[in-house]
Amino acid sequence: MRIPLAWPDWLIIGIYFSAVLVIGIYLRGRTRTGEDFFLAGRSCSAWVAGLSFIAANLGALELLGWAASAYEYGMLAAHAYWIAAIPAILFLALFMMPFYYVSRTHSVPGYLQLRFGERTRALSAVVFAILTILVAGINLYAMGLVLATMLGWNINFSIWFSSLTVGLYVTLGGLLSAIFNEVLQFFLIWFGSLIIPIVGLMAVGGWSQLVEKVPSAYMHLWATTAHYADNPMGIHWVGIVLGFGFVISFGYWTTDFLVVQRVFAARDLRSAQMAPVIGSFFKMALPLIVILPGLIGLAVLPKLGPGTAYSYNAVIPLLMQKYLGPGLLGLGITALIAGFMSGMAGNISAFATVWTYDIYRAYINRQASDARYVRMGRICTLLGVVASILTAYIAMGFPSIMDYMQALFSLFSAPIFGVVFIGMFWRRATGIGAFWGLLAGIATSVSQYALVEAKVLPVSWITFSPNASIMAANMWRAWWAWAATVVVIVVVSWRTAPMPAERLEGLVYGVTPMPRQEVVPWWQRPVAWAFVSLVCFIVLNVYFW
């Protein structure tokens, strides 16, 4: 589906690529220390950290993939933005951020080292490094696919060109450059995407007409989930709440270093707590540019999916082609490219930090100078880009990159979340328990995935639904992996000697005095805005019930 572009579109795309490189070059001289390169000097305001926090998440499939899911599953796809995001983001802000911040750790594996020791840190760092490279590869492949199908570029050229651009600006300016670009990308994503549903809705005849044209089963969040056979996802609400709303969501938003690293860059604890809260409002609004186009696609586009000319992923490109003229089209394509780049840059900068601090400094070269660590960070940013290019070709082999990505999260994020969660809130958890729990969680998810793929284990055994979709299987797998992690940690910890209380100070709830924060009016307090966010979340769920 090649979209014919005019000169204004090419100009907009060209300016974008130039701008991200200019930002990288400009910031190169401002990243001298490790703290600058890996944590942006811990100097970001709450707004910058908050927008970057959301932009880093707006990667691979947020725009194309979830719009496709909205076309396939209707409003059920909006769970990804509400139940599977808001409670976890607010929990991170109010309950977990103080521990991350007080411990002054550089990364999530770094926290696990302080709490549980080297073995757990090593395992989680390796798992996390693999996860970031695989996810960066998905972003890259998705970006290459968009450039190839929409602009007619060769897919190999698209992948190399895009990855080298991202590699250059992250290598030059580190996290500072990534965050700077993410804020720009955030605005471009919104301005390039919001116009699609606005024009689409006007063309359909407004919201009421849209509701009439889309089948009723596609317009509800919860009403059709009392039985798995009543909804297009083939899932019961318990699966949504436990798998999506709890494990995958909390695992991603509270322990995935890709997003948490952005908050670590905040200048003080209040900013670090405020950043996710600010992000939660924008996350809640994202269905406007992702889910709504999917629903509009249901109303105005011919049938998509298997057996038709286009896959579900073509919803946004088809709507762009249908409604946007020269200029806006270039802006829309730039929004997609910006989304993919921010996702990839987020993963690459997180990979560079975890590799340098949690693998290189911890096990290979403990005595190096700060300048050497910065140089290592730059080198492994480039290595990460090359590895991502290779994994992009792995992603190419999967029929649905969306399912591939969710599978990765269920395989690796869920066990890490189990360890961090228990470590932060249960003082009796021990280092040996954490290590074996993490290993058991990963083994459970990987073996479940392999057995179901090999058709040895019926998917209904883990999902309680004979017609479970791949997404439903991912949600349930995440739940079982988390449960296995927690059970093993608890059992092993009870059978091993407890850790001395003085070692837990600053790391565990109940033995950590919270730092005193400056007294500010209520409207500047994270908890007040978190409450407002929670109320908005409840209202949206009730309205679209």
Binding site: A6, I15, Y26, R30, G41, L184, F191, M202, L328
Partner: protein
């Protein structure tokens, strides 16, 4: 953010304003060989103006 660096908001403002101008011009003078619906042209014009205003406000507030 980085000490002494140009505020990110200024960067964002400049880019938005430039994009707004391009979108506005492209919607008023549609390039030859491209057909755009009336709704698409209206949308482009309005969106270009909105981007110019938002970009202009950011530049105004964060200029050094």
């Amino acid at each position: 953010m980085a000490r002494g660096a140009i505020p990110i908001w200024l960067f964002v403002g400049v880019i938005l304003a430039i994009y707004g101008i391009i979108v506005l011009i492209a919607s008023i003078y549609v390039p030859e060989g491209h057909v755009v619906s009336s709704l698409g042209r209206h949308a482009g014009t309005a969106w270009g103006i909105v981007m110019m205003i938002v970009g202009g406000v950011l530049v105004l507030f964060f200029r050094r």
